[in-house]
């Protein structure tokens, strides 16, 4: 059984003292942090939104990866779409850049429900990335619901194109 080196004790004492001194300020900051409820639906709460991570802002590069498409009123990432998620995972493994996923719906729903459905789609893709080994703290989400369709025409082809999750690379 390995024994602790006597040389390490002063270091650990200093570390413990430092953490104790830091504790009050951390508590104040964390009052507004995500995940403070202590129980998470999926085990991985969303990271705080960083400056410049607005999906529509200039700090996010869009269009580098193909959007993940969804079935009607569904947030399931189908097997046929997993290659798109894998491509983003491969990129993130070779890069330090983080990602924001934007979820969208077609127009065949009420607006507030569609905001939730779009967010659920973005979160479903995030879960897949986490399952591929990407840290949850590197993936943020946002929903635009039925706003900003890529196809403004009616009909199934347009609706299918609009049911999507897009990837934005945070510069």
């Amino acid at each position: 059984m390995p024994s602790e080196s006597p040389m390490k004790k002063p270091f650990f004492l200093a570390l413990a003292l430092g953490l104790a001194l830091l504790a009050p300020s951390c508590k104040t900051k964390d009052q507004f942090a995500s995940g403070m409820d202590g129980d998470f639906v999926d085990g991985v709460p969303l990271p705080e939104r960083t400056d410049g991570a607005s999906y529509l802002g200039g700090g996010v590069s869009k269009g580098q990866f193909s959007p993940v498409q969804f079935g009607f009123d569904s947030f399931e990432v189908s097997g046929g779409e997993m290659g798109k998620v894998q491509a983003v995972a491969d990129f993130m493994r070779s890069s330090k850049q983080n990602v924001i996923i934007a979820g969208f719906t077609d127009e065949r729903g009420t607006e507030e429900y569609n905001r939730g459905l779009g967010e659920r789609r973005a979160l479903a893709v995030r879960e897949k990335l986490i399952g591929m080994g990407i840290g949850g703290g590197r993936v943020q989400t946002v929903s635009f619901g039925e706003e900003m369709p890529v196809s403004s025409g009616g009909g199934e082809a347009a609706w299918a194109a609009n049911r999507r999750a897009e990837f934005g690379i945070i510069r």
Partner: protein, 183 residues
């Protein structure tokens, strides 16, 4: 008032003006939370794999009705403001969203989807089925629990449930939706 990652939407202020119910996704799923109007911790009410949205308060602030698609398509559910497990409200419709609890506490109005369009339905919470009262969506009650405002594309309409009379109150402004009524 709220600073959290993800999407925060559908806020409804409690009747006493002290709290706010809304949908937040900060913990990994769109769920219903209650928070104080001066910030602080948000307390989660629901916990599912589906989408919870559009909370509406009972007049006494003791309960909420919201929409959840955890069972497949969105349905209305009722839950105590202090927590617990939500119970589904059987409306007879397959797609129910945007609930609005009447100020007298007796009814809920909501949007249903049928036949490719949206309709406004009203249900007596004391018993009895839901009935369609208009074509449109986003119903909200007036203070007298007799009138509803709802949207139809580019119009906002006022419906008198007692007489059945509908009056267009806003038009010509492009798409209009999700109205609310000041008391």
């Amino acid at each position: 008032m709220v600073k959290a990652p993800g999407t925060n939407s559908g806020a409804a202020i409690s009747p006493d003006g002290g709290k706010m119910a809304l949908t937040m996704s900060k913990d990994g799923n769109p769920e219903i939370y209650i928070t104080g109007l001066r910030g602080g911790m948000a307390r989660r009410l629901t916990r599912t794999r589906g989408v919870e949205s559009s909370p509406t308060w009972s007049p006494n602030g003791g309960e909420l009705i919201y929409s959840s698609d955890n069972g497949g398509s969105p349905q209305l559910h009722r839950i105590g403001a202090g927590g617990g497990s939500g119970s589904m409200i059987s409306t007879g419709f397959g797609y129910c969203t945007d609930p609005s609890w009447s100020p007298d506490g007796k009814k809920v109005a909501f949007t249903v989807r049928s036949g490719g369009g949206f309709s406004v339905a009203v249900m007596d919470l004391g018993g009895g089925g839901a009935r369609i009262v208009a074509s449109g969506q986003n119903p909200v009650w007036g203070r007298n629990s007799r009138h509803l405002i709802y949207s139809t594309g580019s119009n906002l309409n006022l419906l008198d449930l007692q007489s059945g009379r509908t009056t267009t109150i806003v038009s010509g402004l492009g798409k209009v939706s999700e109205p609310t009524w000041s008391f």
